[in-house]
């Protein structure tokens, strides 16, 4: 499951933010990818829509890397 989440994140970031897919790694931080806090909110919002889950605001604010986004999504899905 985590692989498909990662794949989805990479697709969103490459199409919406024009980030080279190759440069997106599971350990990448948002900062390394040039994403600011508003970009992060946008990404999480897209993922919530895609996977039909809700990530609480407090958790959203602590998501700073791709890995944390994947973990947050998985937690929200209860898997």
């Amino acid at each position: 499951m985590s692989e498909s989440i990662f794949e989805k994140i990479a697709t969103i970031l490459s199409t919406k933010k024009g980030i080279d897919k190759e440069s997106i790694l599971i350990e990448s931080s948002f900062e390394e990818l040039g994403l600011d806090s508003l970009d992060a909110v946008e990404l999480i919002s897209d993922l919530e829509d895609e996977f039909n889950v809700t990530i609480p605001n407090v958790e959203l604010q602590s998501i700073k890397t791709i890995q944390q986004a994947v973990d947050g999504l998985q937690k929200a899905m209860g898997s």
Binding site: K16, G18, L38, V41, E42, S45, E48, D49
Partner: protein, 406 residues
């Protein structure tokens, strides 16, 4: 201390009749109207079918995609118009002058497209959440803020929302900030993008939009026509402009404002008169010196009759020899942006010595009996001109401009 003089050194336009000042002005001079069937809202759902829409607008040539995503259509208009004005002026904003620079933008309704999308998502599509950028895109200061960010302007930046007088209030306030020594340069104007289904329905309900076109001062007029667009102007001290060797397009010399304090939609002639008198008083000129008025001229029965009566009262015998026109007959009534478009039209009229016409004109209404520059522009060099704006809510703002001369 002598009063600081304030001059215009750049203008930028997005409108139904041109995506830059050059095209906009040519359309006005040639009496080409941008009013036609609108396409951004399904016309079969509307009682009125015509508007002055901005077609084929593409901001991506001038604005980075990552920045563009933060802006609703009205903010994009402002940024593109501001870039044109700054390019023409040749002014460079940097750390040294940024904090002595202002951005003042007028808008009546702000980012209604982003807001509309939230309604669609929630009420129609039963989604439980909306786009995360809905707030920054909807906020009425989105235009002013994005202009300041794009330009690096760190002084006073704010938005004025006084319905159809918003842009005149914005330009007038910026003028006073510079004249009074609070700032040395400013970008001011406005933007509006009213073509959403909910907003058009609201205008339909208030019964002032024409089912055909906009015919200001005509006996056959049936109301206003909504338009969209943005006008932005660069103004600065005369000293600044001279030091930079900038081309001076016109001088801004007076600003007058008033409130009717009577009725929320019906204009009061006394309020309009007071704003015109105050603008001329501020400019230290008398009525005989005015050579042209860009009228508010909405094409509604009430406004045009009131406005002509007000002009006749203020100008007395001089009204007989005073040409006026309503350029709304071509660029539509762009609400909070409309007086920014009209300010640019007035600046160009002074600069080129051509008075723009009232298009779509048929037969004069006896209650509007003035020289309304019917259906053709006129070559005439004038020294001073007024641009009127009288808004719903009874808020009036009038600007006085002067042809540039030493």
């Amino acid at each position: 201390m002598t009063e600081r003089r304030v001059v215009v050194t750049g203008t930028g336009i997005i409108s139904a009749i041109g995506h830059n000042t050059h095209d906009f002005w040519n359309s006005l001079v040639e009496c080409k109207s941008g009013i036609g069937p609108f396409s951004s809202v399904d016309p079969t759902l509307m009682r009125f079918k015509n508007g002055a829409e901005v077609k084929n607008f593409d901001a991506s040539i001038l604005i980075e995609k990552s920045d563009l995503d933060l802006m609703d259509r009205f903010a994009q208009f402002s940024v593109v118009a501001a870039k044109e004005a700054v390019n023409q002026s040749g002014i460079i904003f940097n750390e040294e002058n940024g904090y002595r620079s202002a951005v003042i933008c007028g808008t009546s309704i702000g980012g209604v497209h982003a807001q509309e999308q939230t309604y669609i998502d929630l009420y129609r599509d039963n989604k439980s959440r909306v786009h995360p950028l809905s707030i920054p895109k909807t906020m009425p200061n989105g235009a002013a803020s994005n202009v300041s960010m794009q330009m690096g302007i760190t002084g006073p930046v704010y938005t004025i929302s006084t319905a159809c007088a918003s842009s005149n209030h914005a330009i007038g306030n910026a003028f006073w900030l510079i004249r009074n020594g609070i700032c040395d340069q400013a970008l001011a104007g406005g933007s509006e993008t009213p073509f959403t289904y909910t907003f058009l329905k609201a205008w339909e309900a208030i019964r002032v939009v024409s089912p055909d076109t906009c015919r200001p001062f005509s006996k056959t007029r049936q109301g206003m026509i909504l338009g969209e667009g943005s006008g932005m102007i660069v103004m600065e001290t005369l000293e600044n402009a001279k030091r930079r060797g900038a081309e001076i397009l016109a001088e801004i010399v007076g600003y007058g404002m008033s409130s009717d304090a009577s009725h929320i939609t019906k204009p009061d002639q006394k309020g309009a008169e007071r704003a015109m008198r105050l603008a001329m008083e501020d400019a230290k000129i008398n009525v005989e010196q005015i050579g042209y008025i860009n009228a508010h001229g909405t094409g509604t029965l009430v406004n045009d009759t009131m406005e002509v009566a007000a002009i006749k009262n203020v100008f007395g015998n001089h009204a007989d020899a005073l040409p006026i026109s309503s350029t709304k007959s071509m660029h539509g009534h762009a609400l909070g942006a409309t007086s920014s478009l009209e300010a640019v039209a007035t600046i160009m009229a002074l600069k080129d010595g051509i008075l723009p016409p009232t298009a779509n004109f048929e037969e004069i209404d006896e209650t509007c009996n003035m020289d309304v520059l019917a259906n053709a522009s006129r070559s005439k060099s004038i020294k001073y001109a007024l641009s009127n704006a009288f808004a719903f809510g009874g808020l009036n703002a009038v600007l006085a401009f002067k042809k540039w001369e030493e």
